[in-house]
């Protein structure tokens, strides 16, 4: 039963984390290079611009769902199962989602990286 709870949490973490990552990446690309902005306009300008981006809050909401699913999962499964399993699935889901929704150029190198890391992370869950 603990195993079932752990995998339910893993599925929920993957879905919520991918949604959150894509929304946050989209928001931060709209904000622009934070380092440049901080240097030229100050930290308050950075915070102000991030907080005035509506999709940022949707991203945070999705991440909060992922975070509480993680707490839930960690209380049932091993750190070394829940973290690698959800992360592995999230790497692949994110590569697909980033290409579709963010129009990132996911070439052979990026796919190789995402799949190698996903496989490596999955192996560590065995």
């Amino acid at each position: 039963m603990n195993e079932l709870y752990a995998w339910a949490a893993i599925a929920l973490i993957t879905l919520a984390a991918t949604t959150g990552d894509v929304l946050l990446a989209y928001s931060m690309k709209r904000v622009g290079d934070v380092g440049e902005l901080w240097k030229n306009r100050g930290l308050l300008a950075v915070i102000g611009r991030v907080l005035s981006t509506p999709t940022f809050f949707l991203g945070v909401l999705a991440m909060a769902v992922a975070f509480y699913s993680l707490l839930f999962g960690l209380s049932w499964g091993n750190l070394s199962l829940v973290v690698p399993a959800s992360a592995s699935l999230t790497f692949v889901a994110n590569a697909v989602a980033a290409r579709i929704f963010l129009h990132e150029r996911v070439g052979r190198r990026r796919w190789a990286a995402a799949l190698l890391v996903a496989a490596g992370v999955a192996l560590m869950a065995l």
Binding site: L71, A87, A113, L116, V117, G120
Partner: protein, 146 residues
């Protein structure tokens, strides 16, 4: 990619790893939380390990947001994935979880993946759309150029 940007990527790796590990330690102390005991999930924040873990995850979040403002999601995620190697090592040292041969293989694959993205470009610019016409230019990547 400047030295400071590599430092931010390193920060993402270390903060997320330590944060997760401290959370795990705190949650193990609290024991299993079920759907019948949701208040336990809210009270978990009062555990000092969980509190410290959350603080580190906030530091992770700030550096992650910074990285996403100047690099692609599909670059940042693999580039910071060495954290899972750190998780295994911390789990081994702190919780006495075993590192099996398959895990060592996993560590090797992750390192190879990190190597693959690390030598490639960090952000999609669409500066030469003619050579990559399979991916349409869009408003987001146009803004990256600014």
């Amino acid at each position: 990619m400047t030295f400071r940007k590599y430092l931010v990527l390193a920060g993402i790796t270390v903060f997320s790893t330590l944060g997760d590990s401290l959370l795990a330690r705190g949650m193990k102390e609290l024991g299993g939380i079920s759907l019948h005991n949701v208040s336990g999930l809210l009270l978990a924040i009062l555990n000092p390990w969980v509190t410290l873990g959350i603080l580190l995850l906030l530091a992770f979040f700030a550096s992650y947001m910074s990285a996403l403002s100047w690099a692609d999601l599909t670059y940042v995620l693999p580039a910071t994935s060495l954290g899972y190697v750190l998780v295994a090592l911390i789990a081994h040292v702190a919780f006495h979880e075993q590192i099996l041969p398959t895990r060592w293989l996993g560590i090797a694959l992750i390192a190879a993946g990190v190597g693959f993205v690390a030598v490639g470009p960090s952000v999609t610019t669409h500066a030469h759309p003619s050579t990559h016409d399979d991916v349409p230019a869009d408003t987001v990547s146009q803004e990256v150029k600014l």
